[in-house]
């Protein structure tokens, strides 16, 4: 008997994992992706005639995972915010696997969105929206624990949605805070670290120094050196966008002057005109 090829095995596994949606109001459209805890499918809601995203545990997951998925659904349902994907429904499939249905986010993942080089101003606006959603969750005592560009969607209308609220607590190497990798207790600063790493990946190589300093401060290895809250991180980014000095970077006198000129070009053009007029008058009066 010849062994099965890799594509065949994959097709078999996909068929096995495919959720049995009999008894629900959904029909399967396509698989969108597979995460650490389950798979996400695009389904059609027959009752309301719209497409949704359905997260279902994979068949291999155990009882603890079942409870985690339920907990994730409950947490998401409690976080009503424009930046957090809303949960519409939750239940059990006929095969006993839990699921929850959420808004189908149309748009691009943040890493894909950033690859289109939308401009630093647009990226910072997206980043601030991301921070607002995470800060909202922190206010309600919820940590994300797995912030990375792949877990952020930028919608067709510029809306920013944070996905995959990692109840499992499994972070992603390169984005998770050192204390998370070490298995220590986490707090808001662990998500601040993730946001700092995201900001770092969004910045082009020639990014302004204050922005690089903000990303470095947020992603500092030592939690004490980071911004204590996401809100403070967001405020520093907003200050940069408004042409103000940022807390993470001590600028030189020259940089301060440049920033003030960039922030008030008309006023400095008028003052320069005054100086030119004065000089011309001086030259012509001699």
């Amino acid at each position: 008997m010849s062994p099965l090829s890799d594509p065949s095995v994959e097709r078999l596994r996909t068929a096995l994992e495919e959720p049995d949606l009999a008894g629900t109001r959904y029909t399967l459209v396509a698989r969108l992706g597979r995460g650490g805890m389950g798979s996400v499918y695009r389904v059609h809601d027959l009752a309301l005639d719209r497409d949704l995203a359905l997260k279902v545990l994979t068949v291999l997951d155990g009882a603890a995972a079942v409870e985690r998925l339920r907990a994730e659904a409950r947490i998401l349902a409690a976080l009503e915010h424009p930046g957090i994907v809303p949960v519409h429904d939750a239940g059990l499939l006929e095969d006993g696997r839990p699921y929850y249905a959420m808004k189908l986010v149309r748009g691009a993942r943040l890493d894909v969105f950033a690859a289109g080089k939308p401009g630093i101003g647009t990226l910072l606006k997206v980043f601030e929206s991301l921070c607002e959603a995470v800060a909202f969750a922190h206010d309600r005592g919820v940590l994300h624990r797995d912030l990375k560009p792949e877990n952020v969607m930028v919608g067709d209308f510029g809306e920013v949605l944070v996905l995959d609220w990692g109840v499992a607590g499994v972070g992603t190497p390169g984005f998770m805070a050192p204390e998370q990798a070490a298995g220590d207790s986490l707090d808001q600063r662990s998500d601040v670290h993730g946001l700092g790493r995201i900001l770092d990946t969004l910045l082009p190589p020639e990014a302004p120094r204050p922005l690089v300093a903000i990303a470095r401060k947020a992603a500092a290895s030592d939690a004490i050196s980071r911004y204590p809250t996401v809100r403070e991180l967001r405020q520093d980014v907003a200050r940069f966008r408004d042409g103000e000095s940022v807390g993470a970077y001590r600028e030189s006198l020259l940089e301060r002057g440049e920033r003030l000129v960039r922030r008030n070009p008309t006023l400095f053009a008028l003052i320069a005109s005054y100086a030119v007029v004065r000089t011309l008058l001086l030259l012509f009066s001699r």
């Binding site: 008030n264 006023l267 008028l270 004065r278 001086l282």
Partner: protein
């Protein structure tokens, strides 16, 4: 701090600088420099106050700029005219051009910038 006070302070501050510039543009005025600076400062204060009051009422950047320019030119004309009657020489261009520009700057800045906590 409200707009008239902001305009008054800015006008007075720029007036002092404008008066001091006479040391470079007309060194022969050195003996009268204190009087020139005080006069220029008072002119700036009055112009800034008027511009601040105007902007408080109309709240329009173009109008603030036009009014600032007009007030700056008018006050500068008055000073130049006094110099002509007292010294017998006229400096209309030398006084009115920078004076008008300063009025324009005060008009623009009074409308655009407000110190923190300002009440228009």
């Amino acid at each position: 701090m409200n707009k008239p006070i902001f305009g008054l302070l800015l006008g007075g501050f720029l007036g002092v600088f404008d008066g001091l510039s006479a040391l470079i543009s007309a060194p022969e005025t050195r003996p009268e420099i204190v009087g020139i600076v005080i006069g220029s400062c008072v002119k700036g204060i009055v112009a800034g106050l008027l511009i601040g009051l105007f902007d408080k009422k109309f709240k329009s950047l173009p109008l603030a700029i036009v009014f600032g320019l007009a007030v700056g030119l008018l006050f500068a004309y008055w000073v130049a005219h006094m110099q002509e009657t007292q010294l017998g020489r006229h400096y209309y261009w030398q006084i009115m051009t920078p004076g008008g520009l300063l009025g324009l700057i005060v008009g623009f800045a009074t409308h655009r910038f407000q110190p923190k906590g300002a009440i228009a």
